[in-house]
Symmetry: C2
Amino acid sequence: MYKYVYMFSEGDATMRNLLGGKGANLAEMTKIGLPVPQGFTITTEACTKYYEDGQTISDEIIEQINEAIAKTEEIAGKKFGDPENPFLVSVRSGARASMPGMMDTILNLGLNDIAVEGVANKTQNPRFAYDSYRRFIQMFSDVVMGVEKAKFEAILDAAKEAKGVKQDTELDAEDLKAVVANYKELYKKELGVEFPQDAKVQLIEAVKAVFRSWDNPRAIVYRRLNDIPSSWGTAVNVQSMVFGNMGDDCGTGVAFTRDPATGEKRLYGEYLMNAQGEDVVAGIRTPQPISSLSETMPEVYEQFVNIAQTLEDHYSDMQDMEFTIEGGKLFMLQTRNGKRTAPAALKIAVDLVAEGRLTKEQAILKVEPGQLDSLLHPQFDAAALKAAKAVAKGLPASPGAASGVIYFTAEDAVAAKERGEKIVLCRQETSPEDIEGMHVSEGILTARGGRTSHAAVVARGMGTCCVAGCGEVIINEETKTMTLPDGRVLVEGDAISLDGSTGNVYAESIKTVEAQITGDFETVMGWADEIRTMQVRANADSPEDAAQAVAFGAQGIGLTRTEHMFFAEDRIAAIREMIVSKTVEQRENALAKLLPMQRGDFEGIFKAMKGLPVTIRLLDPPLHEFVPTAEEDIKALAVEMGLTYEELKTTIEGLHEFNPMMGHRGCRLAVTYPEIAKMQARAIMEAAVNVQKGTGETIVPEIMIPLVGELKELKFVKDYVVAVAEEVLKENGVEMEYKVGTMIEIPRAALMADEIAKEAEFFSFGTNDLTQMTFGFSRDDAGKFLDAYYDNKIYESDPFQKLDQEGVGKLVEMAAKLGKQTRPNIKLGICGEHGGDPSTVIFCHNIGLTYVSCSPFRVPIARLAAAHAVVLNK
Amino acid sequence: MYKYVYMFSEGDATMRNLLGGKGANLAEMTKIGLPVPQGFTITTEACTKYYEDGQTISDEIIEQINEAIAKTEEIAGKKFGDPENPFLVSVRSGARASMPGMMDTILNLGLNDIAVEGVANKTQNPRFAYDSYRRFIQMFSDVVMGVEKAKFEAILDAAKEAKGVKQDTELDAEDLKAVVANYKELYKKELGVEFPQDAKVQLIEAVKAVFRSWDNPRAIVYRRLNDIPSSWGTAVNVQSMVFGNMGDDCGTGVAFTRDPATGEKRLYGEYLMNAQGEDVVAGIRTPQPISSLSETMPEVYEQFVNIAQTLEDHYSDMQDMEFTIEGGKLFMLQTRNGKRTAPAALKIAVDLVAEGRLTKEQAILKVEPGQLDSLLHPQFDAAALKAAKAVAKGLPASPGAASGVIYFTAEDAVAAKERGEKIVLCRQETSPEDIEGMHVSEGILTARGGRTSHAAVVARGMGTCCVAGCGEVIINEETKTMTLPDGRVLVEGDAISLDGSTGNVYAESIKTVEAQITGDFETVMGWADEIRTMQVRANADSPEDAAQAVAFGAQGIGLTRTEHMFFAEDRIAAIREMIVSKTVEQRENALAKLLPMQRGDFEGIFKAMKGLPVTIRLLDPPLHEFVPTAEEDIKALAVEMGLTYEELKTTIEGLHEFNPMMGHRGCRLAVTYPEIAKMQARAIMEAAVNVQKGTGETIVPEIMIPLVGELKELKFVKDYVVAVAEEVLKENGVEMEYKVGTMIEIPRAALMADEIAKEAEFFSFGTNDLTQMTFGFSRDDAGKFLDAYYDNKIYESDPFQKLDQEGVGKLVEMAAKLGKQTRPNIKLGICGEHGGDPSTVIFCHNIGLTYVSCSPFRVPIARLAAAHAVVLNK
């Protein structure tokens, strides 16, 4: 019989894929003798099978669950439904990758009309027993059976009203007993059956609910944002309940072995006395710092400190732990490698190496490349910050600075983002439903919740600035207002700035500045550079971008787009003159005006790059992008150009294309108008010669011919380019190495790469276009249907963000191989936006590319990812 | 030393690729002892080398040419520039494939100031000598050196004027001597050097000119139309001159061993006494039938009849021969397998099998599949023809019927074709410059020239109807008028009809009807069906098309497009209602109206196909194709739909796409609106059930999901389709096999075909879209630059006509292989327009496809091509 259920004592940390992160670590803690309430894990394979079997749990698995229950009852010395000492369990999800708050949890499972009395007897606390039962019925009904929570809340409110009290705590055991009776009645009314009294029935339904929650919409969105495949499934952990809410010698908390915000080596966490675990995470009550536990319960604190150290030593990484104290006894409910901010990740990596726990290779893996993004984003300009006045202060929950306008709901934030606004999402507290709104925001402000609240955890994961638990402001999501301590009321669209490192809130817009790579960041990047073998270049169209790229460690420019330069006010006229030219001579005249400007652009870039290689792409977009479409603009241009309106209109209409993406662009322009390519080749070579003469640095220009699909096409354009280049060198009496290569961005180019490499001295994979053509959908149009694709789990990630390694990647790999067959030393790079995506960087390393090229701001991310690739391949 | 020059005595017919067709056959005729003026062939490799060497002839090759001249002089017993008996040669191109009139020829090479006297002495005919010299200077200047012919004509005209005569023949030897002097003076003035007196210099320049002519624009167009790669190059044949124009015991002619129009077994040809070879081909003088030679020169005729029989026996095919008679002596200048009309090709193939000369396998190769096209095109409707009155009669030069409007120049014809008109090109005579105009015309009428004139030969090759040498009409290309024998004057745009089988010309439009497959055609198609292993299906969207497909031998339907049905007047309203629906319910209501209509369509097709398989594709085009764009149409539709103009306008604008080709279409519609796919699946299955019940025939519907790029996408749609199909079968209590498959038309689908085959029961390669996406250009937009690509020899054939086997074909082959890996019995077909292109059909056979599917009118072509594939692979 295939094994779908593992006792905690049967597993270990290596079984993460099968048992999920939580389950594997519960097993590992059990193995090393830590106090863990025992239980069992239903594997991720059982989840996959559940979906394969049409969302049912097979008899085989139910049987294994029942066996595991029996064993767990024996270990606990308790029995389901025992009127004296009833066995209760928690049921929690636990996927391979942590998905905080995304899936469902059910506590106190096993309570029924008899067990509730058992709990009352055992604890001598009937109020606690009935309150637990009430909560369980509500949670089970809501989470497992889908009955609206509000209907239960109404019963509770009615009970309070009848008794004339305000707080739940003012209801006594008898009151709650009545509430339980009403809850069960509601359950029967809503679902047509009695509330299940059989704990095993409760359990199977709860397990199904957890499996189901793997596919709830917020989990799907979370997976998409975090590149987690839906095929992984979630495990389910069934664990003996321990109670942190049974009295004042009880409590529950979460803690980190190092500060997850800064990385500082100190036990860091929060706890609540007389509370259940979810209370801390939900951020509804504001908890105490973990250090204060040393005063309340010094022995427990000492035990916990030891356990924390043991766990950090054991895992050689910062741990994020959950614990419960029941009747003065400490239980560990979870440990995992803790999520951390980027600065914390860097500091922890550097410290762990300094402490001799990790090698540099191991340490760099502790920093997620994508996380660095937060460090590369703007911080407040010091002067601007000095002039600003904080209007409130909350908890510094996720570092960085954000400046934007206020929105109060995730929906509004998403809509505003689509309009191009920069948003700061302001919420009472966030919940998993807010995930998309959080993702589009520059910063997040919450009025409630601690540094381990949902908002804080998720924001840190996203690298988004967050100020949490800012109780000084009153946020009203209904009226969409935020009242400041000074009485001012901010509304939707008002400016706000957040400092996630101090917790300061500013009711104004504050200028931000770029970050620097120093300290731990510099150290880790140094290691990454030692380790990685693939180069990292940047895409840069201006001297400013080029300088930024160099500052962030780029080893060259992988893509300079020359068309961006064409849109500048002083050149667009010449471009348009070229476009409306009727003869080669007219076109050459217009191009002659552009030559000095383009040469100047390239000189600036060559200078900024100080001799590093620069790949410049010849004109790519279709010419209609340079001409106006509105009638009045055409009229104005006609006057400017000395043409009649009709003449110009005819020319512009002649440029119309049905599918511009697949039209007259790229090297097709150079084939029909070689004079454009010639002008650009001359500008590049003259700039290179001038800068080489001026600076004494060796310049090696790389001229890139875009949109090639056929060897002869490349050769046709290359022959012109080489002729001009040789001419320029001869005119200047200079010898200079230069390369002529091509983009591989059309499927045919990838298929024919062995042929194309006969002429191409380098390939640069243009994965944006290659993705569009390989998938057969244009980025501009795909929005209309891609959501349906995500909703139906046809695609799980955006192929324009993360390279589709199976399909597009197959072409890239094939082309790389074919190119090398023909020209073993061919330079291979990628210059699509994928070049800054860590998973794509690793893929590029694995298939042997020479470099990746990405936005300057993603260069450090790519450098680290390239180092990861080396370590992961060892 | 590498051998670039072969004496005729060194080669044979197998060396066609190296020596070209003409050279190889001259060698073969030499080998079997026929009277061939001796000479040598400069190989096609020398041509390739000429281009590789930057259009120069290497010293190595020049040396070999000089050696060959020496040998040829020895054989001829003459010497270049001999004042007694000078050696003269012709220089002719000769590629692997016949390209009639496309490249240059130079005659009488070797003439100079001394040799001309030698000719005069030898022939005792100074006038002939100086006329030859004059012609040679003019031809050399024009063809080799590029001096305008008109300038020489002016000198000749001046000489005639000065003497007060009209005809060239009225100039005597002294006059011509003066003309020669003036010609040489003009040459020097134009080119700055003396006319070359050294025959070897003349020869090398002439050879270069022939090599150069390989790349002249008309040769490039001809190659593109005939799928001849530019890499083949042309050979050059240098042959001792014999003169058909030295007197009345001289002559020249061309002949076929069988009638090239009908295939009838009889010697068929024409000759001119006292003429040079080019005079016959050019069609300037109207020649005598070959049979009359038996009266003029009975011995020569008998010798020629014997040679013709020898050659046909030798080559086992109908021969096309050129000969010259010099001083009563017969010389063979060329033999080749003769071009023939489709009926002739069929008859000759059938006869050669009956005569025991060829097997069926060999015989089918004698019929070019593409040629059948002419037999599958309309013929005149018998009744309409009876009512029509011929206004003139010419030579029936290429069979078939054509009805269209008159254009007088190739340019006007091309422009009119682009406007969608049907053209009959009417010319005084055609020349190679007219090739594109001839290609776009339904029929060709010439006033001059015989059945071996340029117009006749080219039209037969193209399968285009042609009436040649219609001297009864006066065609004036300048005034663009055609005067009929009855005095009526037709102008551009007037209706005309031609019968290429009778030579009749009608000054009216005549109804045409479809052809039948009977007689020799039927016999050859029967052989093809016996031999071929790949199936042939048709693309058909209506019962009429389906019936036509069956009549032409289709074994099923490979593609029924369901959207064409949507445009019919009675359904477009329901479609539009569906498009503007805001809810699933509204959409389903609209679809419910379409269901019975679609079901009716499919019933018609299933009935017509009598149990043969039918593949029906679900809705493919983007929805905006079904809505109007003009403001007034939108307004009208809004009223019809009960919407405000603004509402409807917003909906329509919402459908706009930047790149519709890469937009919301194909199965993407089914993913976003599954109800459309469900309605169509229901219509297909209900139609199948009804027809099966009604006819008792077993119907196996094949439901095809278009534009798939990913397994999960296919599965998503397939699940809906299968659910509906099962529902319909259950409702009807019927069991029925049905298949659900997919188009492979997106590069990613080809790359992931192993995955996709898990769900797809068949693949149908949609090579139209696959070509567009693989090349990254849309068919609608590529027109703007593809001409530049052809002009620059980047692409040599239209990838939308002939499958790009290297690039797109690589994807198709890969997908076929991957599909079979997963599902060994997967049905593989192609349904793009390439399915009717013979070279693509052969490719599809070679990579193991199950069937090709093409337009009903190309089914017989595909059947024959599929048989060729089998024979060619043996």
